[in-house]
């Protein structure tokens, strides 16, 4: 579709955590063999439920977590095994927007104090005050003279997130990783923050990774969407295509849940009868969705499915699709909401 220059690329990225629970100690793999790339100026959606590893993946991309395995290239440079100093340089090139807007700002500083350091540090050769003013206006934080003096607890959730966005923009990043940036905000405020992020791409030529469990919002603002389940990527497609021709049973399920359409019996997943987490263990060998997949067969629990190219820029990892048991165009849409 579009030929963007590649900004970030990973290959076989894997993160392992250990977990000591009670008297047992277990290892989990929240990010498992992830290979993806992000183009310059692209908005990539990373969609999955909690526990799918999307947050861990996002933080690994931002350099906050060091991968246990695999490679991560940013702008052609391998950043997987950077030293502390070089890592700090990388941090300023990639910025995070966090989900928890109540912890996103230091509670003891005013907006201006929060922002003065990153701005004066990165606005080389510019008047930091003008730069601050410019960014406040860019993110719709007006009247800026009033906002500057506010403490975080005097701001609304939406305003806090905007301040966090200004702080991220201050270091002039190439890539913004937004981890559920609106899920703690009211429905009525979400659209504007998302729109702001989308607009910033246009205005500043940023790349954006939008991490969410809310598929519709990802479809609304992303160029391309990657669906994640159990630490693995399972489907990747241009946002428009995904809606029409979702192939993976889990993606189809996500779409159904989002549209409030009636559910057919065959696409209904098995309820989660066991505590989640077993699919995250290193000993698990099969497709992560197999325990809940309505189209599960023997092979699904034995081997991880390979990527299948189904369309232009659309790939899926599913045994059922590979064997032709699941066709395209699933599910049939009956009515549109709203």
């Amino acid at each position: 579709m579009d030929e963007r220059a590649e900004l970030l690329k990973t290959s076989g990225l894997t993160v392992r955590f250990f977990q000591a629970q009670g008297l047992r100690r277990t290892t989990v793999v929240p990010v498992n063999q992830v290979s993806l790339s992000i183009g310059a100026g692209e908005i990539l959606g990373l969609v999955g439920e909690s526990g799918s590893g999307k947050t861990t993946l996002g933080r690994t991309l931002a350099g906050m977590i060091v991968a246990s395995q695999g490679r991560l290239w940013f702008n052609g440079r391998d950043v997987t095994r950077l030293g502390r100093r070089a890592l700090r340089q990388y941090w300023t090139e990639v910025q995070m927007i966090f989900q928890d807007v109540y912890n996103a700002l230091n509670p003891v500083y005013t907006v201006e104090q929060q922002l003065s350091f990153p701005i004066s540090r990165h606005a080389v050769g510019k008047d930091p005050d003008q730069e601050l003013e410019r960014l406040l206006h860019l993110t719709g934080l007006t009247p800026s003279s009033l906002i500057r003096r506010r403490l975080p607890h005097e701001l609304s959730g939406g305003q806090r997130q905007r301040v966090a966005i200004v702080r991220a923009l201050a270091s002039r990043p190439r890539l913004l990783v937004a981890d559920e940036p609106v899920s703690m905000l009211d429905v009525s405020l979400r659209a504007e923050i998302l729109q702001l992020l989308a607009d910033l791409r246009q205005a500043l030529g940023l790349s954006l990774v939008y991490i969410t469990h809310d598929l519709p919002s990802a479809i609304a603002i992303c160029d391309r969407i990657i669906v994640m389940y159990g630490g693995r990527l399972i489907e990747s497609a241009p946002a428009g295509d995904l809606v029409k021709t979702a192939r993976h049973p889990y993606t189809a399920r996500l779409l159904l849940a989002a549209t409030f359409d009636a559910m057919s019996a065959e696409s209904r997943p098995k309820p989660d009868r066991q505590a989640s987490g077993s699919i995250l263990q290193p000993s698990y060998r099969g497709c992560p969705y197999a325990p809940r997949c309505p189209a599960v067969t023997d092979i699904c629990v034995e081997t991880v499915p390979d990527w299948i190219h189904v369309d232009d820029g659309h790939v899926v990892a599913c045994h059922a699709v590979a064997s032709g048991r699941l066709g395209a165009g699933l599910p049939a849409r009956e009515k549109s909401p709203g």
């Binding site: 405020l189 919002s217 009868r273 505590a275 549109s336 709203g338």
Partner: protein, 333 residues
Amino acid sequence: MTDTTKPVLTVDHATVVYESDDGLACAVNDISFTVAPGQILGIVGESGCGKSTLAYAIMHLLPANAALVEGKIQVQGVNVYRLTEDELRRFRWQHVSMVFQSALVTLNPVLTVGHQFREIFRIHAPALSRGAVGERIEELLELVRIHPQHLRSYPHELSGGMRQRIAIAMAIALDPDLVIMDEPTTALDAVVQREILEEIRRIQAIKHFAVVFISHDLRLIRYISSAVMVMYAGRAVETGSADRFLHPAAHHPYTRGLLDSLPEWNVDRFQMRGIPGSPPDLAHPISGCAFRPRCPIARSECSLAPPTLRDVGAGKIACIDVQSLAKGNEAHG
């Protein structure tokens, strides 16, 4: 047994204030409504609009820094604020129970699920034998499709969806007339959220209890409810049947904004819009209509007095300009 004509829940001019470091705030302001037996009433609004406070007020479970200062709340004709502490303990759960936002924080982390389940019967049906209680619990778990083996589990060993199913089973353990559900699916993922909603609908169809379903998400509300109340800054700004929110109708500007905020299917994309401005600050109320700073059709008269609910077709709207809202909508077709 249950009188099908008398309402299960009557909320009559209820006003709840609470005290915080910022001062006094009125979280529920002069709200009245009734819920008929077997009816599902959805209450929708942004965070801080007072919808959860209202739920806690109905349960007579307000925290110590909050109180119902005006009005009356009756469940099955009984004023819950006239009961003694002891009577109230027996009345709650027997007649009105509640499902909270997240079962992870409402189930005691150091007691097993079974222990917390049996406790209900130990308190409300002490005469029931241990075996009979066990059977009853298994029946309930069957209903929410949880294997009885999980009675031995601790809450943290179960997934979010399972915990919420268990919370629902606990809520209907004594066959209450009314179940308050305060954002019961908000903490869950889209897929699980959808499953739980269907579960609630299915069980409600079997058991016929009335539900007050609270959410910030109008999509859920109109999916599950038969009637809807929209709250803003502690007040009801619109009420009506769920149909009104699915099909073109006259709406309060705030409701209109909420409807517009839902991701909307358009050609091959979802589209989203929002309501500009910030949610109201209950500790620093403004005069007149609380929505006017964000309202596209606000006029100077809006600051005079808060508008009251007035009839508009099948619903009620609290807006100074009800007539033109109704007309405007007719013009829209």
